[in-house]
Symmetry: C2
Subunit: 263 residues, 2 copies
């Protein structure tokens, strides 16, 4: 079988209804384009969901970071390049570059994925899949000039700033809250006035556990440096609502670190 | 100048993250594709936002209905056909057909648009724009076999079922709550259990007034027949929060009629 190129490139139009008040794409929609690019790239090369579904396995997003010098505007035609940077037994790292045809670079992304068995929900050996086909596509020369994932640590001082009741539109085909929806809910912690004078520069998220429709998401926030915030999302499942120890039953779902810069 | 075809056809991929727990596209995302098709069609023909922005005018969506026999699934490649059915001084009607390449029909849509001056926010004469260019594109032969808009009337018995606090991700470039976001918030009134046994067949919405970030949307619901609901969205602006007569200060934003059928 002939191998395709290691780097896949996918074009997207920035849709006007996917843009915020300043006419720049919402980070959640941009993240969605990156995840679509990953999906297309892996399917075309034989180790994507299309194949994995047939053997009861799936990719699970574990970490995701995007760093941007500039956000694309409505009607911009952007290209997302994506490639596999490394593969280990239980994790693979995949990078992204966001650019336009003229060579302008908007920013970059990094992600880490695990593979699980959809019956047992346990991690499986990525290298064992299709005789390690994915390793034929490792690309180590392409630069991804953004810092790797950072440790996100909140102190006791972190405050619960908002509780989100999850609903129908939050849920994906696996019955879990959609990865992109967390990004949306987290970024809704700041108001229009804040976004008028601040630009999101880096968004780094670690997905720890799944949450389900009806879970109440408690968003804890701590400003750790000027313009830098840590956010921890804790879930409360409906069964525990009536309990006396509701606080004790919060379980971590994801945590992220966000950096804004003054406009 | 040569005229283009009256009907424009635009292809969309149903993205996996735009699908609900049952793997069918969320109606809001499908609606977004229809609005994008309208945008592309009118821009290509010279009476779209691209041109209107230069003369300080814009299209405003007034009514929107979608009726579906079947919802597209993840990875389906769908085509949206759109055309102008009629033009009057202050309103134009635009229709949509949603199909695939094999000729399968998913459903249809209808919309009514007004044109306003962006400085005065007042309606303007559509026929006066570019010597009535839009009238050269009226298509009356193409069928749109769904019923026209229906009158939505709620009685005093309608209950406020949910209050939505509008946030950053709800707001579009005009500073208004995005038309598609109302659809999402309204459909979130029903839970997963309901959607497991019921399919959305028709969604008919009338946009009455704009709302802004920070407005609290009160969603009033009344079941008018089996599986048929009327929803009225009323806004409460933050200034009135402290007032004693908060209820009296609710102003209508949109109203819609939704029909579900048993799966």
């Amino acid at each position: 079988m002939d191998l395709l190129s290691k780097i896949g490139s996918y074009d997207f139009l920035v849709e006007p209804f996917h843009c915020d008040f300043s006419n720049h794409i919402f980070l959640g929609h941009l993240g969605n384009h990156l995840l679509n690019a990953a999906d297309f790239h892996s399917n075309e090369r034989g180790y994507g969901m299309d194949y994995l579904n047939t053997v009861h396995k799936t990719w699970v997003l574990s970490r995701f970071v995007m760093e941007l010098d500039e956000m694309p505007l409505a009607y911009d035609r952007i290209t997302v390049d994506t490639w596999v940077e490394n593969v280990m037994k239980f994790f693979t790292s995949r990078n992204y570059a966001i650019r336009d045809k003229s060579g302008k670079r908007y920013g970059y992304g990094r992600s880490i994925w695990a593979m699980i068995d959809t019956d047992t929900r346990q991690p499986v050996d990525i290298l064992a899949e299709r005789d390690g086909l994915i390793t034929k596509y490792i690309e180590t020369d392409e630069p991804c000039p953004i810092e790797p994932f950072k440790r996100v640590k909140l102190s006791k001082a972190a405050e619960c700033r908002r509780i989100v009741e999850t609903r129908y539109s939050d849920v994906d085909v696996n019955g879990h809250i959609n990865s992109v929806k967390y990004i949306e809910h987290i970024l809704d912690l700041w108001g229009l006035d804040f976004y008028r004078t601040n630009r999101l520069q880096r968004f780094d998220i670690a997905y720890v556990a799944e949450s389900h429709c009806g879970d109440r998401l408690h968003l804890f926030v701590e400003e750790v440096a000027e313009g830098e915030f840590c956010v921890q999302v804790m879930k409360q499942t409906p069964e525990s609502d009536a309990g006396q120890k509701a606080d004790a039953e919060l379980k971590e779902v994801c945590r992220c670190k966000i950096k804004f810069v003054a406009k």
